[in-house]
């Protein structure tokens, strides 16, 4: 069966670049905020650029919270959160002091770098990952390969077994997590050349 991939459109971020990257992996996708389409998807991508509180606010206004909870927690549809999309899968964020979906035992905090001359915030640029817990998401991706990051906040995990990659910027932070059918990456695979496409392909093939 052909995978039905839905990129959730909740008014945050550059959805077209994700769709284009999926195309380059040979996968068709739909950009949608339609509840039926989301519930019938085989795979869901939760994008996001911007402010945590505005993201959750948009989710509420578009009635997407219960739909996504059903798709992710009951139907167990594989979902990939990207950047802010990853962060809102956590329990809460300092950014706007609001609750996220709470699927992952993580709280989102701002970078606290000790050497602000060398490590500026936001963390913008290309960086590598140290992988753990052998996630299928990173299959075939070496630890020297680089992903594109742009963020000021990152996840603090309550449960290390859900961390599948860390990245060093002044200190190690969780750059990817996974729990059952739920995956989140802090970087932008859709903008990370061939390495990003490999990761998206791994997600499509789950």
């Amino acid at each position: 069966m052909k995978a039905k991939i839905v990129i959730v459109d909740y008014g945050m971020g550059n959805l077209r670049s994700i769709q284009r990257a999926l195309n380059n992996c040979g996968a068709e996708s739909t950009i949608s905020n339609n509840c039926d389409e989301i519930l019938n998807a085989n795979k869901i991508i939760l994008p996001g650029v911007g402010h945590f509180a505005s993201a959750m606010n948009n989710m509420k206004n578009q009635d997407l919270i219960s739909t996504l909870n059903e798709a992710v927690l009951i139907k167990k549809t594989p979902i990939l959160g990207i950047c802010l999309g990853m962060q809102i899968m956590g329990k809460s964020s300092e950014e706007g002091n609001v609750d996220g979906f709470g699927w992952i035992d993580a709280n989102i905090k701002s970078f606290e770098v000790k050497d602000s001359f060398k490590h500026k915030v936001p963390h913008i640029g290309w960086n590598n990952t140290s992988q753990s817990n052998n996630s299928p998401l990173f299959r075939g991706i070496s630890e020297t390969e680089l992903f594109y990051f742009v963020h000021s906040y990152h996840a603090i995990m309550q449960n290390d077994s859900q961390t599948i990659a860390v990245t060093n910027y002044s200190y190690d932070f969780t750059s990817a997590y996974a729990k059952d059918n739920i995956f989140g990456v802090q970087f932008h695979p859709e903008k990370s050349h061939d390495t990003g496409l490999k990761l998206l392909k791994n997600f499509i093939e789950l």
Binding site: G13, N14, R16, S17, R20, A21, N24, V49, G50, H51, S54, L84, S116, F117, K118, H119, K120, V121, P122, H123, I124, G125, W126, N127, N128, Y148, V150, H151, S152, N168, Y169, H188, K191, H193
Partner: protein, 252 residues
């Protein structure tokens, strides 16, 4: 390991790619979309497009053009040119760019910068500070493609932008533009030392060593250049090219 971004900056005049010397003497380089394809193949870290006539002509950089770039680019890209409203930014992001670059409106309308950062997130908003030395006055900030001076030092202007929530600053030396003799390292470093947000150095890079200096001495997080990536060498035969990052020695 984090490494600085190496960023080709491509200037637009109408639909053409051009390159300037000290913001003047614009020379035709070629087709911008073709350049995007080449930078895809060369695996560029990020690219920047600036429409250098947009603010003067009181219009926005072409949305159709941004869509065309978005359909091609496998790497992040940022665009600037005549951005002055939240709606402008929303249209640009929707069309495929990751981030926007603001120069003239940053000088004219600080409130706009603040509301843009609040709405789209700090990391979406880049302010480009154009700097030219004036006799007796030292470094001055310019807007409107280098044609209008602002009564503020680059350091104070950068700090003001940081306070408004801006996520990154481009420091562009107008005096060094197109010369390919190296960045104004003193200027770059003076800003990098003051702000906690990342700084992109622009203006003057002509060799790989210049890029290394921008990071190692200037403490920039992004190393941007025009001429270096559109000319074969200082004789200025057109050749879109990029550097092999593994050959560079970043160490500070």
């Amino acid at each position: 390991m984090y490494t600085p971004r190496i960023i080709p900056v491509l200037l637009l005049q109408g639909n053409s790619l051009v390159k300037s010397v000290r913001f003047k003497k614009h020379k035709y380089i070629g087709d911008p979309i073709n350049a995007v394809r080449i930078f895809n193949d060369l695996k560029a870290d990020e690219i920047v497009f600036l429409d250098i006539e947009a603010s003067k002509e009181n219009r926005l950089i072409s949305i159709d053009f941004i869509k065309d770039v978005g359909e091609e680019a496998n790497m992040p890209f940022a665009v600037g040119g005549g951005i002055k409203s939240l709606d402008d930014i929303a249209q640009i992001i929707k069309s495929g760019a990751e981030r926007v670059i603001i120069n003239t409106a940053a000088a004219n309308d600080p409130n706009f910068i603040k509301s843009a950062c609040d709405k789209f997130g700090s990391s979406t908003i880049i302010v480009c500070i154009d700097v030219k030395k004036k006799i007796f006055k030292g470094n001055c900030v310019y807007s409107l493609s280098g044609s209008k001076s602002i009564n503020e030092s680059p350091e104070n202007f950068a700090l003001q932008m940081e306070r408004l929530g801006v996520g990154e600053i481009i420091i562009q030396s107008i005096d060094k533009d197109g010369l390919m003799t190296g960045f104004d390292l003193e200027l770059i470093r003076s800003i990098s030392e003051k702000v906690k947000i990342p700084v992109i150095a622009l203006g003057g890079a002509g060799t790989s060593e210049h890029l290394e200096q921008g990071f190692n001495i200037g403490f920039a997080n992004g190393l941007a250049a025009g001429s270096l990536f559109v000319y074969h060498d200082s004789n200025k035969g057109v050749l879109i090219n990029y550097v092999d990052k593994s050959d560079l020695n970043f160490n500070r």
